[in-house]
């Protein structure tokens, strides 16, 4: 019976995930001003996410191969549906009514895009040419463009980077990478003109947050103060003044790292970086040992997307990246991203644990 539960669970990854989740609950307790309701709600989210993880860990990777294209096309259709009929919440069109509930198709695309690209490269593995990379780029940029237009910059960044990782791992030549970087820099002025005002504001504000301390610079200024005042060992759990006096906005969700950093200091940050690195390292080992190109690319994309989550979030809280809506994976409050991330880990575990079965 126990084997039924643990057969497809990767022990090391699972332990690292549990440690991060526990950390998340501890910080959430402080960030929510000791709200047990918040903490238990998040605990429920985690149980759901872990269940999803377990389910996907038990789905052999080749089933996913078959699902790749339909899921991607469904996701794309929903995104177009959002663009046309979506609900506007907080100035962004992200939600789509489907019968009784509403869904956020961009969240689905976080998994669908890597799946699609991995499937595509795997399919043309033997005959990969430049045009395949071009097609792949189109598969990537269409949903990213739609999501960025909603606007949901954070998700767009995450999906874009996951696609880029797939392209990179699929062996896109260095010359082309260099060319793209040059072209990208050259097209910055154009990109700038496409961005929404508030997005420009966030980028400008990063350069000089003091310019608008009560407006768009407020988040960055206050979170930077929280991190900096934490010092080497932090102010102690439940003792963060920035946190408990309500100076940190969105402190249970996107800015929870400011709370953690204020209360546990540089030492705590090191521990957190280590745990995150542990997850990433385990993901990379799984990636390196994955049996097929599809699983290698998928595992690599999932692992590196997790890294992107963590890096972008901590970078924005500590004031070196613009404020985009990216949660700190496994720590931030909220069910949706937690489920998506654990779904990814489930796939990783499936890839790791179904290897032998595939090979024999």
């Amino acid at each position: 019976m126990a084997r039924f539960f643990t057969a497809h669970i990767d022990g090391l990854l699972f332990v690292a995930i549990l440690l991060l989740m526990t950390t998340g609950l501890v910080v959430l307790f402080s960030a929510s001003n000791a709200s047990l309701a918040r903490v238990s709600a998040q605990l429920m989210n985690m149980l759901v996410a872990l269940t999803v993880m377990w389910v996907f860990a038990n789905i052999p990777p080749h089933y996913l191969t078959r699902l790749s294209l339909p899921v991607y096309l469904l996701g794309l259709a929903l995104l177009i549906g959002v663009a046309l009929f979506g609900d506007v919440v907080n100035g962004a069109r992200r939600w789509l009514h489907v019968g009784v509930t509403r869904i956020q198709p961009s969240e689905l695309m976080k998994i669908a895009v890597p799946l699609m690209l991995a499937w595509y490269f795997d399919r043309y593995e033997a005959t990969l040419r430049l045009k395949n990379y071009l097609f792949a780029a189109v598969f990537l940029l269409v949903p990213v463009g739609l999501i960025a237009r909603q606007p949901d910059l954070g998700t767009a960044v995450l999906i874009f980077s996951s696609g880029c990782f797939v392209l990179f791992l699929a062996g896109l030549s260095w010359r082309i990478i260099a060319g793209i970087i040059v072209a990208g820099l050259a097209s910055l002025p154009f990109l700038w003109s496409v961005l929404h005002d508030y997005q420009r504001q966030r980028i400008l504000m990063l350069l000089d947050p003091a310019q608008d301390p009560l407006g768009s610079g407020y988040h960055t200024i206050q979170s930077t103060i929280a991190v900096g005042s934490g010092g080497v060992f932090g102010k102690g759990w439940m003792n963060g003044t920035q946190t408990h006096l309500d100076f940190i906005p969105e402190r249970t969700t996107d800015f929870i790292f400011a709370v953690y950093s204020e209360e546990f200091g540089l030492f705590g940050n090191l521990v957190l970086l280590f745990l995150l690195l542990l997850v990433i390292a385990r993901g990379m080992v799984i990636t390196a040992n994955a049996p097929t190109l599809f699983t290698r690319l998928l595992a690599g994309a999932i692992t590196l997307t997790f890294f992107t989550y963590a890096f972008v979030n901590m970078g924005m809280v500590s004031g070196i990246l613009p404020v985009v809506g990216v949660p700190l994976p496994l720590i931030s409050y909220g069910g949706t991203s937690l489920v998506t991330i654990c779904l990814g880990f489930g796939i990783l575990m499936s890839i790791q644990t179904h290897k032998k079965l595939v090979q024999t």
């Binding site: 900096g228 006096l245 309500d246």
Partner: protein, 633 residues
């Protein structure tokens, strides 16, 4: 599986090569991940170690707010403990315009819960013009418990509206002391600039009011107290979470005055509807016993900003209630100047008491005829008679003999033409004519003919009632001059320690006692058998006095032409100076009644009521009516 069997070697080699390439890429990615994490760590190190002190300071500044605790303002009482200014606490409905959005709609909505009169709105609008947008401004004061409850239940509907318990200043005596005690008002930009210049601004954090006029203004430093400080931890919305430390405020000191509220009331009522001023001084100390300027106004209007309608009324009234006549109104002294002229003549040896002139009823100087009041003259007039019957001709001649230089020198020592230094601000210096003054003022030399009318207190002469009172008090005290002061002592509220305002002899005029005796005897004669005799008929004490009539030039601030009142406003001002008891003066006073004709008729009876009350405790307390006693000064 079939492909594998066809060409297993190639497939396997390719696969190994693929894996090798893939793993190289993965290693690059891992390197990138590590690099980025190192970058993050460096950023954390920079923030949390290198810049830690900086951010620590910022975090402290964020959470600790210094909240000032406004001290209680000292109260003001008269010499008998009658309260002239005190504080009460009341609930006020306040709006912060910056947070409120559409103000008109908001006030409209509020008025369904709490009664807001048009007057309150006007006052609020005026306050808004004078204040900054983020200040919390009162729209209604003294809310009832029911109103507070009604608002509390609906509070969520009114952003930027609050009910606060605030201390208010109240002047229970109303207009009676408006020109002495003065009033406080909301701190304006000018006050702020002044406070900053004096380095007192920090003590006014949180304070809304400051003394604007009178004692409230001049004793501001004593009344205000020391602002306390509470260090509180606040959240980002500025709400206090808990107190870290507290330095209690130190209440302002109380003022105990020399003034006698009852005496003030008697004097004020004695004026009836007339305009004028009365200053009564204790000759031994210079303490001011009564200080009346009529009409007054209700200072309570000003405490929280006067509404425009009342302001307009006060400001445009032909009676000019806002002008402190006793302090800043300047009047020709008329015949009240004569005793001082006589004293000058004795001092400079220009006359002996017995030296007499024959008064034909006029004095001819260089072809110009100066007339006496009494047609045909007073006959043979010596110094005593000149004062008792108020003979003009005697003083025309005397002025000419003394010359302007001697007159201005002597009168200057009596305090005419210079500020007395009383302890409230806004005093006028008046005009003591002299050659230099005329050159300064008109760039013209002095003509000898101008000296003649100076002798009877006319011409350029213009003095405040306070100067007159001070001069007669100095005479009563045989030439010792004190600085007039209203406050007796400042009392520390906690230690009960008293800091007296020391009687300060300004100077001793070094007058010869025999000269003073002559003048005093004549002044007693005025009230016994002269121009003041009718007003003082039957007095149970001996008093000294001198009547006076001043031709109207108009009070300094200028009259406004109002039809129908022109005639009345061109009538002469009535003056009277006096002290009593004659042998050992305890009170000296000066009265000016505007546009009331002869001093004997309007001013002397007021003085009589004041002296009767002060010396005998008689409370007649009825307005003095015009009578026809004394047709001449």
């Amino acid at each position: 599986m079939s492909e594998l069997t066809v060409n297993p070697g190639i497939e396997l080699r390719n696969s190994r090569l693929e894996i090798y390439h893939f793993r190289r890429r993965l290693a690059v990615a891992a390197g990138f991940v590590l690099l980025m994490f190192v970058l993050l760590f460096l950023r954390f190190f920079y923030l949390q170690v290198v810049m830690h002190d900086h951010y620590q300071t910022l975090a402290e500044a964020n959470r600790i707010s210094i909240v000032p605790i406004v001290p209680n303002r000292g109260i003001i009482v008269d010499r008998n403990g009658v309260v002239l200014a005190h504080n009460y606490s009341a609930y006020t409905l306040e709006i912060t315009p910056g947070k409120a959005g559409d103000l008109d709609a908001l006030i409209e909505e509020l008025s369904t819960l709490i009664e807001i009169a048009p007057k309150d709105r006007r006052r609020f609008n005026k306050l808004m013009e004078e204040s900054r947008n983020f200040e919390s401004l009162p729209i209604r004061t003294r809310l009832s418990d029911e109103e507070i409850a009604r608002f509390a239940a609906n509070r969520y509907r009114f952003p930027g509206v609050e009910i606060n318990a605030r201390p208010f200043r109240q002047y229970p005596q109303g207009e009676l002391f408006s020109h002495v005690v003065g009033h406080i008002g909301r701190i304006n930009q000018r006050d702020l600039d002044q406070l900053e210049a004096d380095d007192r601004l920090s003590n006014y954090r949180g304070t809304v009011y400051i003394g604007k006029t009178g004692l409230e203004h001049s004793y501001e430093r004593f009344l205000h107290g020391t602002t306390g400080v509470e260090e509180v931890e606040v959240d980002s919305g500025g709400r206090a979470v808990r107190t870290l430390s507290r330095t209690p405020p130190v209440s302002g000191n109380n003022l105990v005055l020399k003034l006698d509220a009852k005496l003030q009331e008697i004097a004020y009522r004695a004026f009836g509807d007339r305009r004028g001023a009365l200053v009564a001084i204790e000759p031994d100390t210079g303490g001011v016993l009564a200080f009346v300027s009529k009409p007054g106004f209700d200072p309570n209007f000003f405490v929280d900003g006067i509404d425009p309608q009342n302001w307009h009324e006060l400001n445009n009234s032909p009676d000019r209630p806002m002008i402190n006549r006793a302090l800043a109104g300047t009047y020709p002294p008329g015949s009240t100047f004569k005793p001082f002229m006589a004293l000058a003549a004795l001092t400079y040896g220009k006359r002996t008491p017995q030296q007499a002139i024959s008064d034909p009823g006029y004095f001819n100087f260089g072809g110009h005829v100066f007339r006496d009041d009494k047609v045909g003259g007073h006959g043979l007039v010596d110094m005593y008679k000149s004062i008792v019957v108020s003979c003009d001709t005697y003083y025309y001649v005397l002025a000419n003999d003394l010359g302007i230089d001697n007159i201005s020198k002597f009168m200057g020592r009596f305090g005419f033409g210079s500020r007395t230094g009383i302890d409230i601000a806004g005093e006028s210096a008046g005009i003591l004519p002299s050659q230099e003054w005329k050159m300064r003022r008109f760039k013209q030399k002095w003509y000898a003919g101008e000296t003649i009318s100076i002798g009877i207190g006319q011409g350029y002469n213009a003095y405040t009632p306070l100067q007159l009172a001070s001069a007669i008090a100095t005479l009563a005290k045989d030439g010792v001059m004190f600085r007039p002061h209203i406050v007796d002592y400042v009392e520390n509220v906690t230690t009960r320690e008293r800091t007296p305002v020391e009687p300060k002899p300004l100077r001793n005029l070094d007058l010869k006692p025999e000269h003073i005796a002559v003048i005093k005897q004549a002044l007693v004669g005025v009230n016994k058998e002269g121009t003041g005799a009718r007003a003082f008929a039957g007095a149970e004490y001996a008093s000294a006095g001198k009547t006076g009539t001043a031709q109207v030039i108009g009070i300094k601030q200028g009259e406004k032409y109002v039809e129908g009142r022109v005639h009345e406003r061109h009538r002469d001002h009535a003056l009277f100076i006096a002290y009593a008891p004659a042998e050992n003066p305890r009170i000296a006073l000066a009265v000016v009644v505007e546009n009331s004709g002869f001093g004997a008729r309007a001013a002397a009876p007021i003085a009589r009521q004041v002296l009767d009350y002060y010396l005998l405790g008689k409370d007649i307390a009825k307005p003095v009516k015009d009578d026809d006693s004394g047709t001449s000064d």
